[in-house]
């Protein structure tokens, strides 16, 4: 079929979060999807293709946003894409149950002057809520076509596609929204100067839109214009005009303009919506009365989190056992005996211990936990429970400089940091994501718990193990507060929609899981295998002894540890529980109390707990925050761990002497 298709078309889906955008996307593209990141960002880019009436149609699912300001990376990505004109038609997905709020974004999309079609989604849910929308009238008011849809069932999707096709062929753009006199006058003035200097500014946005953004003091547009002398003049003019607006209305100019948009949205919604009395209290409200109850909500949430945790790790552990068995009993011995017939012993070591064990580490650590994790996360996301958990824990999370939405990533961190880091995506701004990421990596994961319990717990006592746990939590709280103060950007507290509950669709959950797992493996596997090969090569070249010798003054002088402890610490980069295994190996005994004093065990454990996250976590950090930040974070943890190790050693010296 592909070969016969000559024409191509691009559609972009834009809309608020929780309006059924992804459901519509899945309905349109099925499994022909691609997930990556938008260039230069860590915002998820989802693309798919479909064939309709002999056309190959590319569909882009833009991130769900409430506005097109420069508040978050999501908003920047969405508006950049629409302004670029790459999409032939923008499909504005609107939740029919909350028309007024959704129209706020619609008006901003119209400002961008791209050809538009609206998918008025969830009309079934609206009817159940007693909301009747006059589609014809709404379309007349807005000036572009509207199709009523129910994305989950596929109702209206074909009609939507043919309407989009028609609009693409005609290339009609929606009319511009008309704001109040004071705003319009100032837009006109700005457009005049923008037009006069258009060739020097090189802005690929519609001028009306730029004028509005200037009046709103949009950081990005202001910065772009300020790079030229002409632009600076325009920015200064816009600033004067914005101040005039503020004097007239007595509100900050972005609020003035937001109010204008909302008053249009409210007027249209009022004209087109007919409310009927609801027959009974909706089940979602009844559910909320229990799930976010001031008292009952908490045990239920703990139950949900524990169940999530238990599910991920029982399924994960089961898979790990199966996979480990396969690698240990079959793949590794088979591969080595086969390779030994071809290559010298050292090369075989490199391949087997490096490449194959690397793949084994990837498959046994990542896949077993990542897949169930993504399944559960998708269910929590789609059902609408996530915002409820955030609501309940917001006050608590404020103590570490985060807000409620960070609860799920933080709790998941106790199992494995990898899915936890990836779950930090649920946070809105880059600043929050970064603080969450910084802290998650310090949450003692299952592997670190093994070391804490297996070394300190077993040889010294459970109370000391607990003390180390508490020390870790103290470090998290302190670092969180510090990061909250130090990191640039305004801290905006929790402002979150509580979407209605929905039964997650199996198709969407499975789809999300597959697509996300694949995109993670793509980054993680090369890194894990590469790291594993590098360490093995390091060992084979005899550099390990040199490293031990070099680190000796530091290890003994500052940390009070035998120099040989450097070896397990290096191997711990691959996976943290290896530190314990390697320690027994280099010590030559499993009774570690004969080799290390209790003080040394404590210092060693503190370092293992805090230093570089394992390589899979580094991969997740790169995936979520980019290479530069991941390296910076890793360096921070190393410094933190060694400092804390040295301090612990010093403290114990003082106390014990």
């Amino acid at each position: 079929m592909k070969g016969t298709v000559a024409e191509k078309l691009t559609l972009a889906l834009a809309g608020n979060s929780n309006v059924g955008k992804s459901a519509l996307f899945n309905q349109l593209t099925g499994l022909r999807q691609n997930v990556g990141n938008w260039p230069g960002t860590t915002v998820e880019k989802v693309e798919g293709t479909l064939y309709f009436e002999g056309l190959k149609i590319k569909v882009i699912d833009l991130p769900g946003v409430y506005s097109l300001s420069a508040f978050s990376a999501d908003e920047k990505v969405a508006r950049e894409y629409i302004a670029s004109g790459e999409a032939d038609v923008v499909i504005n997905v609107v939740d029919a149950t909350a028309l007024e709020r959704n129209l706020y974004l619609t008006l901003q999309l119209m400002e961008l002057e791209a050809p538009m079609v609206m998918a008025l989604n969830q009309v079934d849910a609206a009817t159940r809520k007693g909301i009747e929308i006059n589609v014809e009238m709404l379309s007349k008011e807005l000036g572009f076509p509207i199709v009523a849809t129910v994305a989950i069932t596929g109702m209206g999707v074909k009609d939507l596609l043919s309407t989009a096709l028609r609009i693409a062929k005609q290339g009609v753009r929606p009319p511009q929204p008309r704001y109040g006199k004071e705003v319009e006058e100032r837009i006109v003035r700005l457009i005049e100067v923008l037009e006069a200097k258009a060739d020097k500014l090189k802005l690929n946005y519609p001028k009306t839109w730029v004028a509005l953004k200037l009046l709103e003091r949009d950081e990005e547009i202001v910065a772009r214009l300020s790079s030229t002398a002409e632009g600076k003049e325009i920015v200064a003019l816009a600033e004067r005009l914005a101040e005039e607006l503020e004097l007239i209305h007595g509100e900050p100019s972005p609020v003035v303009i937001a109010s204008e948009r909302y008053s249009i949205a409210a007027r249209i919604a009022k004209a087109c919506v007919q409310l009927k009395p609801r027959p009974e209290i909706p089940w979602g409200d009844k559910l909320d009365a229990v799930l976010v109850h001031r008292v009952l909500g908490y045990p239920i949430m703990i139950g949900v989190l524990v169940a999530t945790f238990a599910l991920i790790f029982t399924v994960g552990d089961l898979l790990v056992e199966v996979l480990e068995g396969f690698f240990e009993n079959y793949a590794v011995p088979e591969a080595s005996s086969f390779l030994l017939s071809l290559l010298p012993a050292e090369a075989v070591d490199l391949v087997v211990n490096g490449v194959i064990m690397g793949i084994a580490a990837g498959t046994t650590i990542i896949l077993p936990y990542i897949i169930p994790f993504y399944l559960v996360l998708s269910i929590l996301e789609d059902s609408g429970y996530l915002p409820r958990a955030a609501f309940l824990t917001d006050a608590l999370m404020h103590k570490v400089g985060l807000h409620g939405r960070a609860i799920v990533p933080m709790v998941l961190g106790f199992g494995c940091n990898v899915p936890a880091v990836m779950a930090s995506r649920v946070l809105e701004t880059d600043r929050e994501r970064l603080i969450a990421g910084l802290l998650i990596v310090l949450v003692p994961c299952a592997a670190r718990t093994v070391v804490i319990l297996g070394l300190v717990g077993r040889f010294i006592g459970i109370h000391v193990a607990l003390a180390i746990y508490l020390l870790d939590l103290a470090v998290i709280v302190l670092l969180g507060r510090l990061a909250f103060k130090v990191l640039p950007g305004e801290a905006v507290g929790l402002i979150m929609e509580m979407p209605p509950y929905r039964l997650p669709s199996i198709k969407s959950v499975v789809n999300k899981t597959l697509v996300r797992t694949w995109s993670f493996m793509f980054i993680a596997f090369p890194l894990i295998v590469g790291g594993s090969v590098a360490i093995e090569a390091f060992k084979l070249m005899g550099l390990l002894d040199a490293f031990v010798a070099a680190s000796k003054p530091f290890m003994e002088g500052f940390l009070g540890l035998p120099a040989i402890c450097a070896v397990p610490i290096v191997f711990g980069i691959l996976r943290k529980e290896l530190t314990l295994i390697m320690l027994t190996e280099v010590a030559g005994t499993t009774n570690l109390s004969t080799v290390l004093t209790p003080q040394q065990m404590i210092v060693f454990t503190v370092i293992v707990m805090l230093y570089i996250p394992c390589i899979a976590t580094i991969a997740a950090l790169i995936h979520e925050y980019g290479v530069k930040k991941a390296i910076l974070m890793t360096a921070l943890y190393i410094v933190l761990a060694l400092t804390m190790g040295a301090l612990t050693n010093l403290f114990l010296n003082l106390v014990l002497s």
Binding site: F71, P252, P254, A258, Y262, L392, A395, I495, E497
Partner: protein, 208 residues
Amino acid sequence: MENLQCLLEALRSLELKGVKPSSPEEVAKELEIGLEEAQRLLHEAVIKGLAKEVDGKYALTPEGLEEMHIHRESVVHNKLYHGASLIGKLSRIMERRLEDLDKHWEAKHGFNGFTVRGLHQGLMDLQGRVEDLAPLTSLTPGGKGVVVFALGGYGLVRRLAEMGLTPGTEVQVVRKAPFRGPIEIMVRGVTLALGFGVASRVIVRPLL
């Protein structure tokens, strides 16, 4: 002084409704007091230089406007940020002059210049009595209010407006989480959760 301040507020509210200067009858109606009482207060205000008389009608003088503004701002300050405690009252006496209060907002409450300016604007254009204002956090579940203004940095104020909390919007509190947790509200047919810190900076006029 209390009554006089109410008078100044009434004159300002009338001004914002486009009634300037206003007759004693209009003032009496606005304040819901007798005509004689209104005339007495207006006379007192004129003597103190807070209002001026033109052809039997009255308007605020710049001094009167400043006095009203200081009053409004200290009410917001005392009620929202220091309560009606002794320290709150003392600080109000200490900070009668507007610029001092500005410094106080910045030093003690961490407000930046933008936030303070927003507060000034919000209070200048306030219609009705400042005593009627309350932070969103003070509403009980089921209670309704109308947004008057939001206090905060540029990002917060803009975000709130984008989510539909523009001045004049009616909101209803659905529920509150314990331990100074978030507040769930209904606004424009959508349910939103606002963190306690955010909600305490949204100033509303409670509806009965």
